[in-house]
């Protein structure tokens, strides 16, 4: 596989969220508003890229029987560092994301990429793979966050975008969009649109 396809495949054809259906729980949890969705995406991209590189660098030294433990320790260490950084430099967001940053450790995308890619590839392709998959995850998170905040709260990044005259004319924010089930429905809609453009992904 060329470096280019390693980087770009996870955007669409091999997207971790809508094709591999990994990391769904954080998609439900952090996409009520666009801002936490973006911060969560950046955190996942950072953790995924660096853990991929670290594991790829030490892949030949890791004893096979404890490789999952080593991967977990690397991921957990990076996640704690990210969460400490957020607490110091983006306190409000870290309060909002609270446990979900910690739960990046259990995000299946990470373990999947480490085990399937970083353990068998050189650092540079592993870095590209990490960033690519992180961006693939981020795209979906941002799309879901965009629609949920727009329809659920009438705002984007906290700024009101639905004009007041709409509300006066009887428009009401859809409270259902704020609740987790609508994240699933939104993801399902994205998968629907995505598959209708990519016929080779459709099951027979």
């Amino acid at each position: 596989m060329s470096n280019k396809s390693v980087f770009f495949n996870p955007f669409s054809k091999n997207n971790p969220v809508i094709v591999q259906i990994l990391g769904i729980c954080s998609v439900l949890a952090v996409t009520v508003k666009l801002e936490p969705a973006i911060v969560m995406s950046l955190s996942v991209i950072a953790v995924l890229a660096f853990s991929n590189v670290i594991i790829s660098l030490i892949r030949n030294t890791i004893p096979t029987n404890i490789r999952i433990i080593v991967q977990l320790v690397v991921v957990a260490g990076l996640v704690v560092i990210v969460s400490q950084l957020l607490e110091a430099y983006a306190y409000d967001v870290s309060k909002q994301l609270s446990v979900f940053i910690g739960l990046i450790i259990t995000n299946c995308i990470l373990m999947g990429r480490l085990e399937a890619f970083a353990m068998a590839n050189k650092p540079w392709p592993s870095f590209l793979d990490g960033v690519g998959n992180g961006i693939g995850y981020a795209i979906i998170l941002v799309i879901v966050g965009f629609f949920r905040e727009l329809l659920g709260s009438g705002t984007l990044l906290g700024y009101q975008v639905v004009p007041d005259c709409f509300y006066e004319a009887g428009y009401v924010n859809n409270g259902l969009m704020i609740l987790p089930p609508m994240a699933l429905v939104t993801v399902a809609c994205i998968i629907w649109v995505h598959r209708s453009f990519n016929r080779d992904l459709q099951e027979k």
Partner: protein, 237 residues
């Protein structure tokens, strides 16, 4: 060296743990000051919210220094404890578990722009999933609540988490903590249920019964020891 041998594995683990541990310790130490500053600023924001003042993030410390003119520590007799630590650094979570007569409770004196004085009291209790806490401000005569602020760590969004919304906390404005010279906790009752006799009450959160009860219990547990202090305010006025 054989990479599959037990010795190699054990040494590998030890080295890895030491390296990761050192990295984490370094991050924690180098970021501690900033994190504490953030947590303090957030506490100041909450204290100001309890006197119904909302300020943008950059101006919190400045407004706090301007409005909170004094802070001191009282015991359950209502006396000011002089040799106690700074009121701001008192851990209300620890104090709220002590017996009422052994507690040290922070009081913040707030002078509003119109010159009126309010006293802010601290609360800490348990909701459904985790801790809840809050601040209540009372008028200078110690009887009537001027404003309240509640926060939580992990209550269910849309249900228990509604206690942090103004819709809930604004109900406390004008409720009495001292009725006929006696301390009376403000009850949190289920909407539609009969109110307790002789006490002021607010409506709980629908669907957040356990959190609402937690708020009621927290008010009773944490504000009752302030009773003597509040009464002394009423006498001095």
């Amino acid at each position: 060296m054989n990479k599959q041998s037990n010795t190699y594995t054990i040494i590998y683990i030890i080295v890895m743990v030491v390296v990761v541990g050192a990295a984490l310790a370094f991050t924690s130490i180098s970021l501690k000051d900033r994190q504490k500053a953030n947590a303090d600023a957030d506490k100041m924001r909450q204290l100001l919210a309890s006197v119904n003042i909302e300020v943008p993030k950059e101006r919190i410390a400045e407004e706090y220094d301007k409005l909170i003119t004094n802070s001191f520590v009282v015991d359950s007799e209502g006396n000011i404890v002089n040799d106690a630590q700074d009121a701001f650094s008192i851990n209300v979570a620890v104090q709220s578990k002590e017996a009422a007569d052994k507690r040290l409770m922070p009081v913040y004196e707030c002078t509003l722009p119109d010159g009126s004085v309010k006293y802010i009291l601290s609360m800490y209790g348990a909701g459904l999933w985790g801790p809840i806490w809050g601040y209540a401000s009372v008028d200078a005569d110690g009887t009537t609540v001027y404003g309240a602020y509640f926060a939580h760590q992990g209550e269910t969004p849309g249900l228990g988490a509604e206690i942090e919304k103004p819709k809930f906390s604004d109900q406390f404005q004008g409720k009495r903590l001292i009725i006929d010279g006696r301390f009376s906790p403000i009850a949190v009752v289920k909407p539609g249920m009969p109110a307790p006799e002789g006490e002021d009450y607010v409506d709980g959160v629908s669907g957040g019964t356990i959190t609402s009860k937690g708020v009621g219990a927290m008010i009773e547990n944490c504000l009752a020891p302030y009773g003597n202090f509040l009464k002394s305010l009423a006498v001095n006025k």
